[in-house]
Structures are given as structure tokens and as C-alpha cells.
Symmetry: C2
Subunit: 412 residues, 2 copies
């Protein structure tokens, strides 16, 4: 297994001007081949600091990916630092210079002298054609470590990685010895999920990773085993055990799968349609659903009814009910769910009403009080939440809880 | 000037599971005090690697911020590594344990044994109360370097930095010599905004930074000048010039100010109310509006009408109109805006109808075709968009464009 590291270069990354995404994008690319970064460094646009970072990474890794500092301006000094680290001079790469000239000519832009700097690469290194930008990438070998230098712009990183890094990896990396599987859960905290999974074996070939992505918790099983057949059997057996231990809180095992996607899929699978009545979530649950392509097949309509008047006019919630119980109540949630179901003709009607905060709370109904109801041909079910978060997170959890009620109803 | 570094901890940061944003958020916080990180390291959840990273940072910096690895699970090993680095043992911090117990009790969650681990901190270090989460932060001094340890969750980083890091900095760092001001714009690309600002002076005391935060572009002016009076006068004069050059595309100059917030403020200021009819955005524009506390004062209701049937039933769009022009048309957008305005009694009715993709496009109406309309007592205005993005970004731009139409109408 190749030990790999990453170095991201640029004052803007350390001054708070820009959040680095290249570490994550290149990390995902390596992981797809069973690799991962052992460490990362972020360095200022300073030749001495960059050279020191290259030396540190080379002392630990056989593959070092470097992004940033290949632009045309004075503060782009990565190539200068790379040459100093390797103990060589910079040379002008003719093919790169020709491509830079051609790029400017084809766009009708004047080429400025500093663009010519972008053709300078360390002696002995190879220029890598960049179809997405001006600066070439560079591959350099120093004492058994291979360095790939890419510009900092994510689109150019993607293009250079696809065109030059992946082919290089394919020749050198045997199919990975790690297999992984991810479960996405909603409804329990990270430590509750960990407690549920305590019966899993402690074994050197198994690593269980938790990641909170509010309000969900993701659990990833990593199995390390050189034999592909043993590896996949082991991962499958462990995954079956995880499914048994976690039960219905798992809403997705798909890469990038969202709760909304699981709900849309479950609705489509059941040939069922949905309509929503949202109060405190203000359209958030619907926006989550409609993010999924194909949502129009299952979502009939939504009414966002903030005011009592709109609840009466659009959903048929009676004024007497509102006067007796208030808009944030089990009775109102049930009436909203039944009202949107009847008015839309959808099979399932879902309602959310509550107090997201920061204002609007009382001793009786504090901020975080939320009522959710699901009306179907089987009758109407209700759930009360008492959430401890701020406005934004109270809304997100309420929307998730409402969608999850639909998922659990359809899977039951 | 204090030399500072950052260390971000977590396998997920190096495996491609998560892009780090803490370096950027803490970097921006330091820069507001005239400081910045000299370097950053990203490290796996491995005690030996973390201890080595702490030692390297301590060799170069007097202040080291560390995020991640304070959670309750087995792979959270930052405290263990910090104790090993400092050559001390872990101790259970009583005050932190009491807060953790209280936090669970107040929410009615059972406290699991692994939550107790979160009260373990190195001997000699101080626990920092975390109002946003379970794990306390930790401050530790080793050989003249001060370490702050924060959890990885951005909300908790923000809370701990505001409560503990900023007061610590205020006692040690003289007021910075830099003043900054940020303008948030919508409707132009980064290079278009830069072109509008070309008349700004080129001066060594002025740094103009651009940051794209899709679909907005933020422009920040930084003025470096030791004299506080001169500095604020210079920043104010330059800000006035920027306002003149950018004109109505600036929707906010407030820290954290969103377009939706500007719209809610403008509606409240004009004592106007709003109702929305959303098709392709599926509730997204309403979710953005209702994210703002106090939105209930200005938003009467929203109808998310995906189907033609719902457009007719809820908004009174005639079947003849739909048959002649289709749902994605100027005529339909106008009828939807007028229908929601009439039905809700709001002063302003806004409608969005379009094809977000990936499916649903045709030669005549390709993916990205969006119609927006605003109905008011002055009549109905319409805007057509032809967007080049994917589904998610087409929806976001459509929602922004609709809200911006309200803002510009009210500010006109």
C-alpha cells in the first residue's frame, strides 16, 4: 500500500479567505482505490516553508499531492520551492509554453509576460497537460517519492487528477485491500448508535468510524483483508450484523443517499403520493423532498401555512380547534395532516407545526415544542418532539422527523 | 505578533468524507485581530501521529488551535494524544462531568458510559465550557505554547472560540492595524464584480478580496493602517466608493447577513406581506425566507404546486392557459403570482416555475428554463432565466432570483 500525503499551498487558506476542498476531493479519489492520505499540511506562499513541507512529506510518504501556487503572479512560488527542494534549476517547458500561447490566442486574450512564468518547471520533472486551465501540472520524482503538483482551482485539480494521477495509480496500485460500507442513521445520538453497536467484534481487521452530519449519524465499517473473496464475505457478514443491531434507524446505505431520497424511493415503490402542510419548518421538508430528481412523481403539493388564517383557509383547520388547542398542538397537527390529505387527494398527508425559536415560546409550550402528524387511509398518527437546539437546527430536525415518519410508515 | 498554527484531526478529513472548514473559520477570526496561521496540519485519529503534530506545531508557534477528536467514541483520541505529548495523565474534570450529566438529564436522554470519556482532560489543563455541545474544550500550556482544543463540529468551534479564545486573545494581542468591510452581491459573476471595481485605487494599504459563495460573490475591503482614526475614515471612504460602483447588486453588508434576511427586513420596513407559489424550487425560496427569525410577520403562506392540477386548484391557473402555454411559461408564472396574491391576501405574490433538471427539458424549453413573476398592486412583472447549472444549483439560483426580485421591488 502506497503511503500518501497532501500539501495545500496558499496564504488564502490560512487567512480565512478560502476553505480548502482539494484535500477532500483528492482524498475521495484515493479512497476509491483503497488508499488514503496519512497526513496533510497547509503552507503559506513562502518558498522556504514549502520546501520544508515537501521534505517532511517525502520523509513519510511515497506519493505526495500538492495543490496551489502555480498561478502567474509573484506570490505563486511552488515551482521555485520544488526546484530548491530537489536541488535543481527551473527550465522553461516548450510544449507547455506553446499550449499557453495557443490558449491565449484561441480566446483572443493578450498574453502577459507573467503567464510565461507558468511554463517554468523543475529540471528533470515532467509537465502534465492541463485541459481546464493555463498552468500545466507537474510530476517530479525525488529519492523514491513521486510528487504531483496541481493548481489550486478545484476544476483543474479534477481534470489533472483524472488525466494524469489516475493512470499513474492504475499502473502501481494493486486493487485495494480495504473494503468499506456506510450506514446512515437518523433518530439517535452518536453515542447511542455506538452503544447499539457494542456487540460488534473487536478485531484488528475491522475499523468502525462514526461521523455526525447533523442531524444524522453515519457509521462506516472498514475491513482490511488482502484476499478479495474473504474481504467481501467478511464485510457482508458484518454489515448484516450492523443492520440487525441498528434496525429501522438506518435510512440509507447508498453513497450520497439522503433521507429525502429514501422517502421518495419508498413512496415510488409503494405507488403512494404525498402532500405536506408545513408551519414551523416553513417549506424545508418540501425543499428536501424536491431536491430529489423525480420528486414530482410522488409529491402532489405542499401548503406552507404560517398564519392561523391560512391553516383555516387552506387546510380546513377549524377556528374552534385553533381557539381551544392553539396552532402548536397535537389536535392542530392532526387536523392539518388530514386537511392537506383531503384537499390534495394524496394518499399520505403530513403536517408539522411547532415553535422553532428564538421567539414564540411559553412556559407551557417552550421553544422546541413540535407536533408532527401523518394521515393515511389507516388513520392519523402523531408524534411530539421537544427539541433543544437553535432555530435552524430545530427546523432541520423537525423536517427530518416528519420525513422519517413517512419512511417508517411505508417500510412497516 | 503571536505565531499561530492549526491542527485538524480526523480520518474523515483525509479519506475524502469531509472537507475541513474550521481552518477557514478560525483563520478569519484570527485575521480580524491582525493574526493568521503560519501553517496547518491535518492528522489521522492516531495518538502517535497527533502527538507528533502537536510537537511540530509547538516548535514553531506560541498558539496552536486544534479541532476534532473530542467525541465520545473509541476513535476520538485527541485528549489521550495531548496528555502523552505533555507527559501527563488524563484526569476526570468534575465540572465538565457535571455539565455532561446535566445536559443529558435536561434533554431526557440516557447518558451512556462513553459520554463520560468526554470529561477526561490532561492534568494541568483547563476545561472550557461548551454551550453548543457535550465535549468541553480544553486549554493547555506546554513549554510556552498555548493549545486550544475544540471539537470538530463547526457550531461548537464557533461557540468555544467566541467564549474562550477571543477573550484570551484580547488580553494578549494589541488591537489590529487592519480594518475590513464585506459586501455581499447577487446577480454578477466574480470577474464581472471585479471589473465593476476596477476604478478603485491601487494602494499598498488596500487589499480587495473576492470570495464566491454560490450563488453570491462577497467582496471584502481590507485597510492596513496603524492609526485607528485614519483607518476607519479610509475604510468608510472606500466603502462609499464600492457602494457607488456596485449599486443594487449589494444585498447585505452585515456579518452573516443573507439575502432572505434582507428581504424580510425590507418587507417589514415597508409593512408589506408576501405569499409564494413555487414549482421547480419546491419550497426552497420559502425555506430560505422562514430561516429568518420573524419571517412569520411578513410571510402569509406558500403553495408548492408541482402538478398542473395543484396549480389550477390552489392558484386558479386556468386549464386553458396551461394547455396553451404549458406550466413553464411566462403566462403561467404571471397567473401563479396573481393567484397566490389574490388567494392569500398578501400585498406581494411571487411565483417560480421552471425546469431544474436533470429530466424534463425539451428543445424548446431546455433544462434551466425558469420563469419568475412578482404580482403587486402596481401590476405583475416577469423575468425569464436560462440557467446552465445542475438541478441543485438551478433551484438555488431560481430561489435567489425570486427573492432578489422582491428586494429590488421594495428598494425601488
Amino acid at each position: 500500500m502506497i503511503a500518501a500525503e497532501i500539501i495545500t499551498i496558499g496564504d488564502e487558506l490560512l487567512n480565512g479567505d478560502l476553505a480548502d476542498t482539494n484535500t477532500a476531493r483528492l482524498g475521495a479519489l484515493l479512497r476509491a482505490r483503497g488508499l488514503g492520505f496519512g497526513a496533510g499540511q497547509t503552507v503559506r506562499d513562502d518558498p522556504a516553508r514549502i520546501a520544508a513541507a515537501l521534505a517532511l512529506a517525502a520523509s513519510r510518504a511515497a506519493l505526495v499531492l500538492v495543490t496551489g501556487g502555480l498561478g502567474p503572479t509573484e506570490d505563486d512560488v511552488t515551482m521555485q520551492a520544488a526546484a530548491a527542494f530537489a536541488g535543481v534549476k527551473l527550465r522553461e517547458d516548450e510544449a507547455s509554453l506553446a499550449r499557453i500561447r495557443e490558449r491565449f490566442a484561441s480566446r483572443g486574450y493578450p498574453m502577459t509576460p507573467n503567464n510565461r512564468r507558468q511554463a517554468l518547471i523543475p529540471e528533470g520533472a515532467s509537465a502534465l497537460e492541463n485541459r481546464a486551465g493555463t498552468a500545466p501540472g507537474v510530476r517530479m520524482e525525488v529519492d523514491g517519492t513521486t510528487f504531483f503538483f496541481f493548481p489550486g482551482v478545484p476544476l483543474e485539480v479534477d481534470a489533472l487528477a483524472a488525466d494524469h494521477l489516475l493512470p499513474w495509480l492504475s499502473q502501481r496500485v494493486p486493487a485495494g485491500s480495504r473494503a468499506s460500507h456506510t450506514f446512515k442513521t437518523f433518530g439517535k445520538t452518536e453515542s447511542q448508535v455506538a452503544t447499539l453497536l457494542e456487540p460488534l467484534p473487536r478485531a484488528p481487521d475491522l475499523h468502525v468510524a462514526y461521523r455526525a452530519h447533523f442531524p444524522t449519524i453515519q457509521v462506516t465499517l472498514h475491513v482490511d483483508e488482502p484476499d478479495a473473496g474473504v474481504r467481501s464475505a467478511r464485510l457482508e457478514a458484518l454489515s448484516t450484523e450492523v443492520r440487525r443491531l441498528l434496525g429501522p434507524i438506518v435510512f440509507s446505505e447508498a453513497q450520497g443517499g439522503s433521507l429525502a431520497e429514501a422517502v421518495v424511493r419508498a413512496l415510488a415503490g409503494a405507488h403512494a403520493t404525498l402532500a405536506l402542510a408545513e408551519s414551523c419548518t416553513g417549506g424545508l421538508a418540501t425543499a428536501m423532498i424536491t431536491e430529489v430528481p423525480g420528486a414530482s412523481e410522488v409529491l402532489v403539493e405542499t401548503a406552507v401555512t404560517y398564519s392561523n388564517d391560512a391553516k383555516t383557509r387552506r387546510l380546513g383547520v377549524s377556528e374552534a380547534l385553533l381557539a381551544e388547542h392553539g396552532a402548536v398542538s397535537e389536535a392542530c397537527a392532526r387536523a392539518m395532516a388530514e386537511g392537506i390529505r383531503a384537499g390534495s387527494g394524496a394518499q399520505l398527508g403530513v403536517a408539522i407545526t411547532g415553535i422553532a425559536g428564538p421567539g414564540g415560546g411559553s412556559a407551557d409550550k417552550p421553544v422546541g415544542t413540535v407536533h408532527i402528524a401523518l394521515a393515511s387511509e389507516d388513520g392519523t398518527r402523531h408524534r411530539a418532539l421537544r427539541l433543544p437546539f437553535d432555530r435552524a437546527r430545530n427546523r432541520v430536525v423537525s423536517a427530518f422527523a416528519a420525513l422519517d415518519m413517512v419512511r417508517l410508515h411505508l417500510n412497516a
